[in-house]
C-alpha cells in the first residue's frame, strides 16, 4: 500500500453549493502531509470525506487503498476541527472511552502522554485550555494506533506557543509510531515546521503537491531585464510572473540549474512558493476567495 489518500474527480455538494468539485489527488503513505489552502478551499470537506463523515456526491475517494468510509475505522485516526471533547467528562473518562471503543487501543501510551503533558486525569475536559484540549484529542487519535492519522486544522485555534508545542508533540508521536499523517492548515508555517510533503489545495484543485525539500530545491525567483514569458526555456515552468517597464520577476520550477547570466537567481521560502501557486488561481476569473493567511 503506497497511497494514504487518493481522490478521483471527487465532489461534494451541500444543498445547491459545491464545497468540493472535481478534486483529484494522490497522497503517498508514510509521510507527514501538509494540506494547505485558503479558507473555503475544501480542505475540511476533503478530510471529512476521507474519514467517512461525509459521502461523496461525485467521484471516488480511497483511503489506505480502500474506498473511504467502509469499516476502516480502526485504521484511521481523526482529530476533527476545533478538537472536540466532552466538556463534562474528565481526561480519565476520555481515555476510558478510547479504550472501550477501540480494539487496538494503547493505554500505556495514552497514560504516558497525559502524564508527560502534566495533565491531571481527574480534570474535566471543559476546564482545559485550547492547547490542552487539542493535546487530549491528539492523544485519543494516537493511542488508537491508527495507520493513518488525519488532523483537520488542529492548531487553528491555538496561540503560537501552544501551536508549536502541539506540532512538536505530533512529530514525536509520528516518529515513534511510524504512521502516515495528513494535516490540514491554512498557515504555511505550521506545515513547514512539521510536514515533509505538501499539497496545496485552492478551489478544490491541487495546485502543487510534492516533497517539501524537493519543492524548495526546484523553485527559484528570477529577476532581470524585461523578458517575455514565451521566450523562457522549455525546462523552466513559470509559476508566476510580474513585469515593470524594464524588469521582469519570474517564479519558476525547474529541475536544472539556471545558467542564464541575465538573471539574478534567488532561493524561495515555502511560503513564497505556496503564495505563488495560490496567486495563480486567484487571478483566474470568478474567484474572489481570500488569499492564504500569513502568520503574524
Amino acid at each position: 500500500m503506497t497511497t494514504a489518500l487518493k481522490a478521483q474527480g471527487l465532489g461534494k455538494k451541500y444543498g445547491r453549493r459545491w464545497a468540493l468539485t472535481d478534486c483529484t489527488l494522490d497522497v503517498p503513505a508514510g509521510r507527514v502531509v501538509g494540506l494547505v489552502g485558503p479558507n473555503g478551499a475544501g480542505k475540511s470537506t476533503l478530510l471529512n470525506l476521507a474519514v467517512g463523515m461525509l459521502t461523496p456526491t461525485a467521484g471516488q475517494i480511497e483511503v489506505l487503498g480502500n474506498p473511504a468510509g467502509t469499516s476502516q475505522r480502526t485504521k484511521i485516526g481523526f482529530v476533527a476541527q476545533d478538537t472536540p471533547t466532552y466538556a463534562r467528562l474528565s481526561i480519565a473518562d476520555h481515555l476510558k472511552l478510547g479504550a472501550r471503543l477501540n480494539p487496538r487501543w494503547d493505554d500505556s501510551l495514552a497514560q504516558a502522554r497525559i502524564q508527560q503533558l502534566g495533565l491531571d486525569p481527574k480534570q474535566r475536559a471543559g476546564k482545559l485550555s485550547g492547547g490542552q484540549r487539542a493535546q487530549l484529542a491528539l492523544t485519543l487519535g494516537v493511542a488508537k494506533r491508527p495507520e493513518l492519522l488525519i488532523l483537520d486544522e488542529p492548531v487553528a485555534a491555538l496561540d503560537p506557543l501552544a501551536r508549536r508545542e502541539f506540532l512538536q508533540d505530533l512529530m514525536a508521536a509520528v516518529t515513534e509510531q511510524e504512521l502516515s499523517v495528513i494535516l490540514s492548515s491554512h498557515l504555511v508555517s505550521d506545515v513547514e515546521r512539521s510536514c515533509d510533503y505538501l499539497v496545496v489545495l485552492v478551489d478544490s484543485r491541487v495546485q502543487v503537491s510534492g516533497d517539501i525539500d524537493t519543492l524548495l530545491a526546484t523553485h527559484y525567483r528570477l529577476v532581470g531585464p524585461r523578458r517575455d514569458e514565451k521566450s523562457m526555456p522549455q525546462n523552466q515552468y513559470v509559476v508566476s510572473a510580474s513585469h515593470t517597464d524594464r524588469q521582469s520577476t519570474y517564479l519558476i520550477r525547474t529541475d536544472e540549474p539556471v545558467l542564464d547570466p541575465a538573471w539574478a537567481v534567488s532561493q524561495l521560502t515555502l511560503e513564497d512558493i505556496v503564495l505563488a501557486y495560490m496567486g495563480r488561481s486567484t487571478s483566474a476569473p470568478q474567484n474572489n476567495r481570500p488569499l492564504l493567511e500569513v502568520q503574524r
Binding site: 471529512n48 474519514v51 463523515m53 461525509l54 459521502t55 469499516s71 475505522r73 480502526t74 484511521i76 485516526g77 481523526f78 476533527a80 476541527q81 476545533d82 472536540p84 471533547t85 466532552y86 466538556a87 463534562r88 467528562l89 473518562d93 476510558k96 472511552l97 478510547g98 472501550r100 471503543l101 477501540n102 480494539p103 487496538r104 484529542a137 485519543l140 488508537k144
Partner: protein
Amino acid sequence: MIWLTWRQFRLQALMVTAAIAVLAVFLAVTGPGVADDYDRYAGDFLKQLSMQRLNGYLYIVGQVLVYAAPPVIGAFWGAPLIARELEAGTHRLVWNQSISRTRWLVAKLAVTGLGAMAVTGLLSLAVTWWADPIDDAIGAGQTSGIFNVSRMLPPVFGARGVVPIGYAAFAFALGVAVGLVARRTVVAIAITLAAVIAVEVLSPMLLRPHLMTPVEATVVVTAENMRGFMLTGPEDDAEVVQIEAKLEGEGFWKISEHTVNSAGVVQTKLPQWLRDCGPPPPNGAVSPGRMSFEVCFQRLADEGYRQQIKYHPANRFWDLQWREAGIFLLLAAGLTGFCFWRIRRDLT
C-alpha cells in the same frame, strides 16, 4: 459503549428516577393502608378516604407524575441524546472511534430508551396498584371529593396501566428524532415538550374513542334518568337543543349522545313545547304551559324521541389500554427507524 452511554446519561437518569423513587416510597408506605380502608369501610370507603389529606395529595401527585413523565423523559432524555453531540461537535470525536454510528446509536437508544420505558412502567405500576381500591370503588358507584373520576375517563385512563409506557417510548423516540433534525438542544427540548403534551391532550379526544367500535345504546329519557338539559336563545324564547340521559351502570366512558326522532333522524333541535319542561327561569316567572317532568318525558317518549348513546363499557379498560399503548409503541418504532436512517447520512 454502554459504559459511555451511562456515563453521559447518569445525571439526567438520577434526577428523574429520584423524583419517581420518592413518590414510590410514599405509595409503598400508604398503599396497604388504603387497601385496608377499602376492606374496612366498604361502601363508605371513599368518604373516609377523602378526609385523609395525605392520600388525597398522593392521588393527585401520582396522577400528575405519570402524565409528566413522558414529556419530561422525551425532552430531557431524548432530545439532548444526539442534539447535544451535534451542537458540541463531539459526534465527530465519538463517531471516529472504531465503532460504527449505527452501533453507537443502538447502545444509546437501548440503554436510554428501555430505561425510559422501565422507569415509566414502574411509576405507572405503583400508581395503578396504589389507586386500585379507589378506582374499584368509583367503578362501583361511590364518589366523594376528588375521588369521582372513573378510570375509563380521560383524566385517569392515561395515568394507569400500560398506556404511560407507550407514551414514554413515543416521547423518547420523538425527542431523539427532533434533536437529530433540529441539531439544537434547547430547540429540541422545547419542541418535544410541546409536542408530547399536545399528544397527551389530543389522544383521548382524537385517537382513543376510535380504538374500538363503541357500544351503542338507545335510551328513553325519563324524569329519573334525565341528566342534562340545554337551552339556547333569549330567555323568553329559548330553544331546547340538547338533553342527556344517564346510562345504566357505572364506570363506562360515554363518547357521544344524540337525540333521534321516531324516524331515527338525529335532532339538532327538540320540540318547542319541551322548553317548559326545563328548570324554571331565574326570575321565577312560571309560564302558563308548564308541565311536570313526568308528563314532559312521557310525551317525548310517546312521540318517539330516543337518546342514542355511544360508549365504551368499563370492561374494555384493558383492551383500550393495550391498543393505545401498542399504537404509541409502533410510532416510537417508526421514529427510531427514522433516526437510524438519518444518522447514516451526512452529519458534520
